[in-house]
């Protein structure tokens, strides 16, 4: 059942992404309405699909490469929709929806079978650790989009080559503010995700820190965002520099999220397909 819903989600997200991209070109209010409707419907089906999967599997469905990207996409779209209804920056959707679509496509490439949960994962720490980390990642995805938009808009203004993006994208101040907000929410989530992970590791593997590939990459990511936060607060980093950091940071997030599990091996690798 959850698989069927998942397929519906895939269709809605792809259609929504297409609509958001055509909104970027055409700028007709009706297109943005359709796009938002697609994404909202997709999100509802997605919620149902994840709930069903939870009931079918009997554990929080975030343990393999089918479940995890899908859950991250769900978190990204959820946070984005809240943001769109609050701040009305529709053009943001044109940047965020492709990311969610890619994640869902990655997800659909992996086996959807429900296998037995590795004993080490049978713990109440699983949902706490992973959900915290994933929501942090989702918020960094928003910061990544704001960063891309910032670089485009800044380039237009700085180089004095005013193109159509100049009219469509929000102001530099707004984009930089989003970067700032995302950092102040995403960083604590990432930190908490790592702390809970290390407590769990103490119970499961016997040590708080074991230099596992995922741990190393997460630490790298954490240092990147910590540097940005420090720069923002104490040195006055902002604008372009902060945007570049958010973009690089998100690549690190994506690598420790997907790359580690598909390319490297370590304690966090439960899923090998």
């Amino acid at each position: 059942m959850s698989i069927l819903f998942f397929k519906i989600v895939l269709v809605f997200y792809l259609a929504g992404t297409f609509a958001y991209l055509s909104y970027l070109i055409k700028q007709r209010p009706i297109i943005s309405t359709v796009a938002t409707a697609m994404l909202c419907s997709g999100f509802l089906f997605h919620t149902v699909s994840i709930t069903l999967r939870y009931m079918e599997a009997g554990y929080t469905p975030i343990t393999n490469l089918y479940e995890a990207p899908s859950f991250l996409a769900w978190a990204i779209i959820g946070i984005y929709l809240i943001m769109q209804f609050r701040y009305k920056i529709t053009v943001f959707g044109s940047f965020i929806s492709p990311i969610a679509s890619i994640l869902i496509l990655v997800s659909s490439a992996f086996s959807k079978e429900i296998g037995p949960l590795p004993p080490v994962l049978k713990s109440f720490w699983l949902p706490i650790h992973v959900v915290l980390a994933f929501f942090g990642d989702a918020i960094f995805a928003l910061a990544f989009c704001a960063g891309i938009m910032y670089l485009i808009q800044e380039h237009q203004i700085k180089s004095k080559k005013i193109g159509s993006f100049y009219y469509r994208l929000p102001s530099l101040k707004v984009l930089d503010d989003i970067n700032h907000y995302c950092l102040t929410i995403g960083f604590p989530l990432l930190t908490l995700g790592m702390i809970t992970g290390s407590i769990w590791a103490r119970h499961a593997w016997g040590s708080f820190w074991s230099w596992d590939a995922k741990e190393i990459w997460s630490l790298l990511t954490w240092i990147l965002y910590a540097a940005l936060l420090h720069g923002r607060i104490n040195i006055g980093w902002r604008g372009r520099r902060a945007a570049v950091f958010a973009i690089v940071g998100f690549f690190a997030v994506m690598f420790s999220f997907l790359g580690v599990n598909t390319m490297l091996s370590g304690l966090h690798t439960y899923d090998r397909y």
Binding site: Q153, K160, Y166, S171, K173, G236, R238, G239, R240
Partner: protein, 421 residues
Amino acid sequence: MHIVVVGLNHKTAPVELREKLAFPSDTIEEPLRRVTSIPQVSEGLILSTCNRVEVLAVVRDVGEGIKEIRNFLSSHHRVPMSRLDASLYSYDSYDAIKHIFQVASSLDSMVIGEPQILGQLKEAYSLASKHKTSGVILHKFLHKAFLVGKKVRTETRIASAAVSISYAAIELAKKIFATLENKVVMLVGAGEMSELAARHLLNHGVRDILIANRTHSRAERLAKEFDGRPIVFEDLTLFLDQVDIVITSTGSSHYTIRYDDVRRALKIRKYKPLFFIDIAVPRDVEPRINDIENVYLYDVDDLRGVVDANIKEREEETKKAEKIIEREILQFERWLESLNAVPTIISLRERFEEIRKKEVEKTISSMNGGPKIDKEVLDALTSSIINKILHNPVTRLKGRENTRKESYYIDAIRDLFDLEE
């Protein structure tokens, strides 16, 4: 009933001629009365701004009506027709409706998308309705025009891309700072252009203005005028850490603001963005400062580039606006066509006849088994009641043809008896 527009605008007439034809709003009653006293004309309105003078009227015969209104313009302002002829345009029916919708949407303005015209049109309408020279058709028409104007404004970005240099500078500032509220501006050198820009910025809510001028007394005078602060010209770079927007326009032959000054200031202000608008020729601000992080420098040529981009952007939006207008014209024309006495009388009769027949049938079928009723008698009775009731309204409608009241009555009847448009 036809809508006509006769007038001239900035495209067809030079300012000297437009001045001559202008109607001051405080003495508009008399010309309004003269327009509506033309036998052809049942409703009239005069729109007079510095860019256009137009008479909008509802007439019975298009050719005659337009001719009379043209004569009125010529005789009222004592300008011979030979001088007016080439500049006056006249539109009727579809074209007239389209023209007024375009005017209301600011598509026909000198600066396309400028917001004042809709207000001026509203003012013209309120004068006409105050002096009772507008009736039901102009009432509906103008409200439709206001609606179209608003729709174009909200659904297209026709007004958002500015085509003057000072507007372009403000739009740029907004793309950098999101809002100008609480921003501090520094004026360096006092020229007509920079004063104008400062005034624009003040209108957008900037918090404070610092003014530096080589002649300090002039800076003080301007500071008083803008409610700002004068600063010593030689020290102006010391204030760069406190301001967000700098407008320079000195006559100096060398750079007044240099790369190192800006770099130093930026460190102190923790890299908060700084926007320089250099409208001086030769330039006041060292061009290299545009390379500094979070510093943006635009000179006059750069701003012209933005204006060009804005104009191009607007052309696309204009097409969108035209589509909206086209849709609204269709709707309005349908309503206008329904406002004829003859079809209204016909459908009014049909509506009554329909009711009569239904009630007669009902009565006969409900009398089943009761006393026998002659259907012919019943028909004759009911028909004659209807004829009696309708006699007066119908003769009134026919008799009032081509007065302002006619369309008023027709509209009311259509509404009261729910006749299809």
